[in-house]
Amino acid sequence: MKEIFKQRDCLSQDEIKRYLQEDCSRKEAHDVENHLLDCPFCRDAVEGYANTQNFEAVEQVLEEASPKLEVQPDDKVVQMPPRPPRRMFLRIAAAILFLLLPLSAILYWGAGNENRHYADYIDAIDVKSSQLAMRGNADTLKKAEVFYQGLQAFDAKNYQKSVTCFNTALREQPDDLQIAFFSGLAHLKAGQTDEAIPLLEKVLKNKNAGYETDAAWYLALAYVKKGNTARVRSLLTLVLASDNYYNQKAAELIGKL
């Protein structure tokens, strides 16, 4: 009887060290290698340490991080290591903000209700692609590298680049609803509402995708921009039907329509 798929915890620091230094039994090493086949986190970490011969230095780095995290008398204050001064950067950022504020106000109040609502809500929920990618169907990360590059560009707010990446991935896997969702979302964030709508509609129709609520929320915003209030209402009602992190904003927005 073989326990090929035996589950175990991730590798400890000591296990990684002993494995790389060949300081473990044959069975232990085989067990580690079996775990590495399944766990990308440990696999990458072991690869990282494989180039490091000086484990004492590694242990020191990790130990230095420990006291700052563990010695917290009131469980509130975490001492962080000193970081480079960023005052100049902050001053420049503040100056730019000061100059841009009046311009933004003119653009904001000059726009119609549709555009104002859209602008108010499109970035209201700070969801990273890595978080969204963890949701949905079981094939989450069995994608081409270009899909991953799309996620990265999305998180860097480089929406045009992420659109290009997701569309390339979509050409390779045209039936993949997760890619369709990200492509739709990236189009929307890039201001390409007409391209976003059919993709998000497709995702919304398929309950197996696992992105039904996300698609409904972002579709609602797309239709806000298009001025289709009836469709916005029905989509927001769908969002409000389940408990999710769009609820509060959806309730706000429906009240403003």
Partner: protein
């Protein structure tokens, strides 16, 4: 840190931090995985000082982001977050697209034969005990390269480097054939079980 915190699962710690804001919970999560986070940083950034700085960046990010994110699988989220963060750093460090493309190409070529399986591996916690005859039958259905590596690793209990020595495969190929072979084997066995 109290013992009770150490006994909580990752996801319980995340929820508890979201409810109470107690930073000790994030500290516990960080202490569980910091050696893996640092290893991933070393892999991608190649520099100890920058990796150390990134390790603390990730901790700050945990304190900041765990509050407002709905996280179903913390370990999976942390891995992806760390990898993203390292690639972002590389982008800022290198500044030139050519260098970044080269790094991405290197990563791609090192996993040329690999298919991503994070979701399956990190989410699927159910074990399967395989009978010897079931295993042999299922192995026959795999591609030749995968079957050879799987046989050497799981039947003959060879290690990666021993398989490399006995075959013409590179280390990366061996790892890749084993990863994909194991996933395919699981699928075949689950189909058989029905």
């Amino acid at each position: 840190m109290s013992r009770s915190v150490e006994k909580l699962t990752d996801e319980q710690l995340v929820l508890s931090y979201q409810d109470t804001g107690r930073q000790a919970h994030v500290g516990e999560l960080f202490s569980r995985y910091k050696h893996l986070v640092y290893g991933v940083c070393l892999k991608y950034l190649k520099e100890e000082e920058e990796s150390r700085d990134t390790l603390m960046d990730i901790f700050e990010k945990l304190l900041r982001d765990l509050h407002r994110q709905k996280i179903l699988n913390f370990k999976n989220w942390l891995y992806i977050t760390t990898k993203h963060h390292c690639l972002d750093r590389l982008e800022k460090r290198e500044k030139t697209e050519e260098r970044l493309e080269k790094l991405k190409k290197d990563e791609k070529s090192s996993s040329e034969f690999m298919e991503f399986s994070e979701e399956e591996s990190l989410y699927n916690r159910g074990g399967i005990i395989v009978q010897a005859d079931q295993l042999k039958n299922a192995l026959k259905k795999l591609d030749e390269d995968q079957r050879i590596c799987m046989d050497l690793f799981f039947i003959q209990d060879k290690r990666y480097k021993e398989i490399v020595a006995e075959t013409n495969y590179t280390l990366n190929q061996v790892k890749s054939y084993l990863q994909n072979g194991k996933r395919n084997l699981k699928r075949l066995l689950l189909e058989e079980i029905g």
